[in-house]
Structure formats: C-alpha cells, structure tokens
Symmetry: C3
Subunit: 217 residues, 3 copies
C-alpha cells in the first residue's frame, strides 16, 4: 500500500472501519467453519460470506452495487482473515471459542456498525434507518454464516450482541446530531460497541423475557 | 396525526394498507417470539422483522431504498404492534394461537398483498410481477420471522396461506385490467385475501399432493 | 416462438443460457418438493423459487428490477420445468435422485453460472465480482430451495458443487481477458461447469478439510 493509499485510509473513517471489519469477520467466520469440519472451499466461503454479507445487504438497502463486487481490495482482505483463521486453527486447540476469536468478533461488530452508520448517513435515511443499517451491517454476516452452518441465527438475540450494535448506531446518530466530526462520531460508535460487547461477554449480561415480567407481577 | 395526515391516509390506498399491515404483522411476529420465550429485545426484533421484511424485499425488488428506513412513522407503527403483543401476552393464556392473533395475521396478509400489488403496478412490472411482489410483500415477513425463530418457513405452504395472497394479487391485477379505480381494486384484493384465508383456517382447506394424484389413478 | 425470436435466442448467449437454466432448475426444485410430499402449490413455489432465486439475487446485486418480474416468458419457462417434474414423478420411482434430475441440475448449474457471468461483465464489476455473481446465480436457487425445504443449504459445500461454478466463472473471465467472443466464452464457461460437476458426481470428488491437513503434519 503506497503513501497516498495510507493517507486515504487514515483520512477516511469508512475505509478504516471497513478494512478492520472485513479481516476480523472473515477470521471469525472461517473459525466457525473449521470447527464444523468444513473443507477448505467451505471454510473460505463461510469466511468470505461472514465478511461480505452484512456490507452487501447494507449496499443493497441504499441501492448501490455491493462494494465487495467492485473492489479487488475487499476480497484480498477477506482472504487474509481466512488465512489467519487457518493458521490459528493449527496453533490453537479450540480456535472458535479462543479469546482471539471472541475479541475479533467484538472488533468486527464495532467496525461494521460504524461502517454501516456512515454509509446510511450519507444515503440520507432517517435516524431509525441509520441504526437499522448499522445493525444489519454488523450482524448480517454472522447471521448468514450461521444459516450456512445450519445453526439458528436467533442465537444473535440470546445474549447482548445485536443490542451492542443498536447502542453504537444510536451513539453515532447522537454524535452527528450534536455536530461532532465524522471521524470522532465513528470512534464513539466503535468504542460503545466494543466496550458493551466485551462487558456483556465478561459479565454474561442478559435482557429480561416477558415470562420474567409475568412472574414478577 | 393532524387532519391533513388523515386526509392523506384515506385518499391513499397504499398508506392505509401499509399502516394496517405494519401494526398487525408486528403484533403477530412479537407474539411468536413471546411463545418462544425470547427476551424483550428479541421480541422487538422479531416483531419489527415480521412487519418490515416483506416490504423491504418489495422495495429492493423495485430498486428503491426501503420505506421503513426513510420514514420514522413506520418504526412507530411497528413498535405499537409489539406493544400490543406484549400487553396481550400478559392478559391472554396462549396469545400466539388466540383468535385475535389469527385474525391479525389474516388482516396483515391482506393489507400487505394489496400494498405490494400497488407498488408493483406503479413500478410497471408484468402481471406475474404484480402477483409475485404482492405475495412476497405478504408472506416475506412471516417467512423471515420463522427463520429467526428457527422454524421451517415452508409451513407457509402447508395450508392455504400464500395461496390467498396469490389469489388477491390476481384479483388486483384483474380489477386494474378492467379499469377499476385504485382504491376499489385495493378493497377487492384485501377482501379476497381476508375471506379466503379465514375460510381456509375455519374449514382446514388443503391442496392435493402429487402422492394423492398418484394414488387416485 | 416466431423466427425472429429464435434468431434473438441463438444470437444472444444470455437468452440461451437463461432459458436452459430456468427449465432445468424448475424441474430439479419441483422434484425435491415432490419427494418431500409438498402439495401442488408448494411444488410450484419451490420449483419457481429454485429457477428464479439465483437470477433475482444477481439482478439485485447489479441494482436492476429482476427480469423474472418484468418478462412473462420467464414464468412460462419455470412452469414448463415444474410440469416436466410432475410428469417425471408419475413415470419414475425416485425422480429426485434419477440421472435425469442429476444431469438437469448440472446443466442448470452451468447455464446459470454463464448467465450470471455475462450480466456481471456487462455491469462492469471486478474479476471477483464476475466469479461471485456467476456463482450466486448458479447456487442461489438451490440454496433457497433447501431453505424452503428445511434442509441445510451448506450441503452445497459438501461436494464439488459451488466449486464447479467458481471454476466456470474464472474460465469466463479468463476467456474474456484473452479477447474471445462472448458466445465462445459462454460455451467455455458452461462446458467447464458441466464437465467438472458430472465428473465430481461420477468419481465422488471431495476437497480436504483443515482436520485432514492437521493430521497429516
């Protein structure tokens, strides 16, 4: 990557977040497929699907051709994440539940929430649209990977996962409303998602069910 | 809602059908999630997903940004339906199979078939396109909710469910072909769907399988 | 079909491939639904879904209204495939695993890979985009049919299925890069997919898993 590409990267919050998210989620998706004993082709497909599905859905929702189909850089970043996962799987005993994978997942969640919120804001959608597109960008890849792995995607709702993306999207919208610069809003959004997600994993946070409410009456 | 908003509502068949469908399907989706003991966040997500998935798919098929991401009113209507479901679940013993939910489902099916047929007609697609987009608008939300709930969406085909939307779409197209006004065509379409759906539930209608045809030879 | 329609067909590689793919995949999808004892409506829906889902996804990815919703010819071809499947199911004992269905599936896979690669090339996406859209066009219908049938779509990755579409997409892109005419590139692509797919079925090809790599160290 030349100097001008680096300048573009650091001056463009979307490019930073998208790059981080692609590598992190490709690693997580490929690790899941490795645990399920998929072949190398399947591992690559699940890794790339987890990296690209959220962003492709985001792009379709704002009616543009998915970035992943237009830029050769994106596929390279996805393959880098898959390669990292394969390397980790040879070194570590249980790569899919290892802290490296759990932290990668939180980082990918934060990066893609932010990338989605930035694209949504540029497309001029409503406040709900910003939060929804940020959340879909963040959780779409994991949900699609779960479908490919034949696991119920609603596990996303069992713990504090999509909720973190929703909070991040709200933070991004609030930051934009009070007039903060795009780069700062991006940092706030990513920070909220990573901190709430890692706290939820560490302290096993849960939300109440209607059954809980009914019992306590 | 001010007087001019009310005038818009009654003068605009799409707005009427879309409003009814959003509240009805959010109620049904949230009721399904309550039965599965989802947490409050999951209930809200499944309710909103059932309300918005069909219309979002419709909008993508005619290549426009989903209405739900542009209008803050839509999310409010979805949350109203979720709130009704939570209230019902505290009052009723089995909210997801209660007549209130079954009738809400039939009304939502009818309203969204009509909303889809109106948008498809405006987009200038073929007769098949009108029926297909009406049906997708109507059954897409329920199918997506079933996927989130880890239930097979083909239950849509087990009884006379999607068939009702197909009949409604054909009725809308026929009404348009013979020169009826949009509002009347919308009423005919919604009426056909509600009546056939409630009749199918009441009389347990079924379509023949190939195995039936083979046996009777 | 009049003479000018035939001329259009033979002078337009996309139309040829799309026509073949629609009939072949509708036959395969309907055969799967017949095995699962779906009713006639369900059989038609699964057949049409298998025929249209890949192409509709392709059209959404290049942001145009799906062809299937605009052209009445497409639905006719899909219904023809469904009719063939119902006829076969009365004649043959196990239509879904019969060589006729297996070969139809390979032909549909080849035809839709080629149709997708042609549309992607016209949309001006990257080399990865051509391979990805060709593969999605080819495997999207089968994956969607599996979801409707409540079977895990990752069976697509268990044997050499999607891999054949990837190889075909690469062949199409290579042929285009060396300056071959569109019709020739289409023939090369379709040939690569059919030959590798039928060889994989005949010789039970498999790709290595990471576990295999780990054991052999």
């Amino acid at each position: 990557m030349g100097q001008s590409a680096l300048q573009t990267l650091f001056g463009d919050p979307f490019a930073v977040m998208n790059t981080i998210g692609l590598v992190a989620f490709a690693l997580v998706g490929a690790s899941k497929a490795i645990r399920e004993e998929f072949d190398l082709f399947g591992i690559t497909i699940v890794g790339l699907a987890m990296a690209f599905a959220g962003g492709a859905t985001r792009d379709l929702l704002v009616t543009r051709i998915p970035l992943a189909l237009q830029s050769p850089v994106e596929i390279g970043l996805g393959l880098l994440g898959v390669g990292l996962a394969v390397t980790l799987s040879i070194v570590l005993p249980t790569p899919d539940t290892h802290p490296v994978t759990v932290v990668s997942d939180a980082i990918g969640l934060a990066a893609f929430t932010t990338a989605g919120a930035i694209v949504a804001t540029e497309a001029g959608v409503s406040a709900f649209g910003i939060v929804a597109i940020g959340t879909i960008n963040a959780v779409g890849g994991g949900a699609f990977a779960d479908i490919l792995l034949d696991r119920p995607p609603f596990i996303l709702f069992e713990d504090f996962y999509a909720s973190c993306a929703v909070l991040g999207g709200i933070a991004y919208w609030l930051a934009g409303t009070v007039g903060v610069a795009e780069g700062t809003a991006a940092g706030v959004c990513a920070g909220v998602v990573v901190v709430t997600r890692l706290a939820a994993v560490t302290f096993s946070w849960n939300l109440p069910t209607v059954q809980t409410l009914r019992c306590s009456e």
